[in-house]
Symmetry: C2
Subunit: 310 residues, 2 copies
């Protein structure tokens, strides 16, 4: 359990020997969300040791091939491996048409419910909310209709025991239950240990924001304000700013500037153009503006517990 | 130059760590044909050191995902890498609908002509014929409309010089040209060397047949009669014959039996189910019926010059 981001693909428009196309699995307390599904995503899911059938929700940012060409193969493999659980996909208008054509020509009748939810520009309501997390979408700035996502842990209202308290006072399960509900602890010798010495307040829920593919746009500042981890489009370095703008992508400097303006905890760069064999210079550019920046690498896993403001 | 088969993917319905989904590049004197295009084919093309843009013709046997889910990514990458040369795809009815939907929702206008030719059951006319080869298609026996292909080298009518003749007689370019046209050679001392001692007849053109996915069917015997290399569906071993029949696939024994009945030169087994980690027992089963059998392995290359009857 916990809150983790598994990077499956961190490359741009074409897969290379080192970077697959865009895909990530976000795991919030065991609830697994696939964000984007570039070609080969089913292979990357296996390499990351994520159980394919444990993914119940897929978010597709936009309908450029490098973000969804792995989806038909993944769905087919889920079907061939006997899936019966529903699969919910959230994507812009049009995915239905593509998947419908594919499964029609291949004469495939899926053995599980495939629920395709169309994302629209309304950002007022979460697109999904359950007991683990809330997911919100918002329009971002690319060459076709594209969405960013914020995944926020659900707030836990219960108190939790401080480390070592159970052994220190030799607490029974019943004692622990009462203490978590706010009770003080009465020791066998009559001493009262106040609840505040035994428990800690629930942690502030963390938020993960995914913005890829997009240009820099200051409209994103209030939306991303204060998120713990921001994953942002870094297709280009600052030398290619004009190219980035014309293609609807971000640069090192733009990603870092936005991270600073939005006061995020940590910046995670991704979607690197295949032209950059070594991304150290790109990280250096971002560090000069926003020091708490890391670069996505295929099959890396980020534990949101370790993400904090510097 | 020559006639080669590059195996890009030899697995069945799902990619595994060892076998990609179905795909091969056949190179006939530099004319490159991609047969099937399972997910990840663009990666496999790069790993096989085939130049992606040198592929001008693609044959799709049928519209199950493991045979064409890599096609949209390959076409997109050809486009992104600046292709202007036409691409000809031969496939059963329906591919147009899928590719049309994909490029419509991604707002992609390809910068090269994409010519999709629908294959039908007419086997009288070749689907393609140029100065390098002739390609014929024929219906095979799967759960949806599926085609096999025979690629046949063009017969070379010209005589060729025997090895070492040019240096032995110190021939000029003009001499060699005349000898290839049938002339005898008059040596400076007046001796006449008859043409038959200087030249060899053109080789018999070779044929490569691809039959995947299909059940065994004796209707295939006359079509495959005497081909030098037959690539055949070997999804299962003989223990799973009933399963193979129900799924429209072949077994070791069926492939080897057909190879023997059709009098082919060599049998190439492919499309192995992921359940077989070690295919040695499958090869053993086939060898007991048709000894000149080999198994496809991803990234192997077969030189048709080395393929002969045993």
């Amino acid at each position: 359990m916990g809150f983790f981001v598994h990077i499956l693909g961190s490359g741009a428009s074409m897969p290379t020997g080192h970077r697959s196309c865009s895909a990530q699995v976000v795991n919030v307390e065991g609830f697994k969300i696939l964000i984007d599904a570039g070609e080969g995503v089913q292979n990357q899911i296996r390499r990351a040791h994520v159980k394919m059938q444990s993914i119940g929700t897929i978010l597709i940012s936009h309908l450029h091939g490098d973000h969804f060409f792995g989806l038909p193969g993944l769905i087919s493999s889920m079907h061939l491996c006997g899936r019966t659980e529903p699969l919910d996909i959230f994507a812009p208008q049009g995915l239905n048409e593509v998947l419908g054509a594919i499964f029609r020509v291949s004469n495939t009748a899926l053995a599980f419910p495939l629920n395709i939810h169309t994302i629209g520009p309304d950002t007022q309501q979460p697109i999904l909310s359950n007991n683990k997390c809330t997911i919100r979408s918002f329009p971002i700035y690319h060459s076709i209709e594209t969405y960013g996502f914020i995944i926020e842990e659900k707030r836990k209202n219960a108190l939790s025991l401080k480390r070592n308290v159970a052994t220190q006072y030799n607490l029974s399960a019943d004692d622990m239950q009462k203490i978590k509900q706010g009770a003080d602890y009465l020791m066998p010798d009559g001493t009262v240990i106040p609840n505040s010495l035994l428990t800690q307040q629930p942690k502030q829920p963390k938020r993960y924001a995914y913005c890829c593919d997009t240009s820099y746009n200051e409209n994103l500042i209030p939306i991303l304000n204060g998120v713990e981890l921001l994953c942002f489009d870094c297709t280009f370095d600052s030398k290619n700013t004009d190219l980035a703008i014309s293609k609807g992508h971000g640069t090192t400097v733009q990603a870092a500037t936005l991270a600073k303006q939005a006061g995020v905890g940590q910046l995670l760069l991704t979607h690197f153009s295949a032209r950059f064999k070594d991304i150290t210079p790109l990280l250096d550019e971002a560090h000069s503006i926003f020091p708490n920046t890391i670069a996505a690498t295929d099959l890396d896993m980020i534990d949101m517990q370790n993400v904090s403001k510097q």
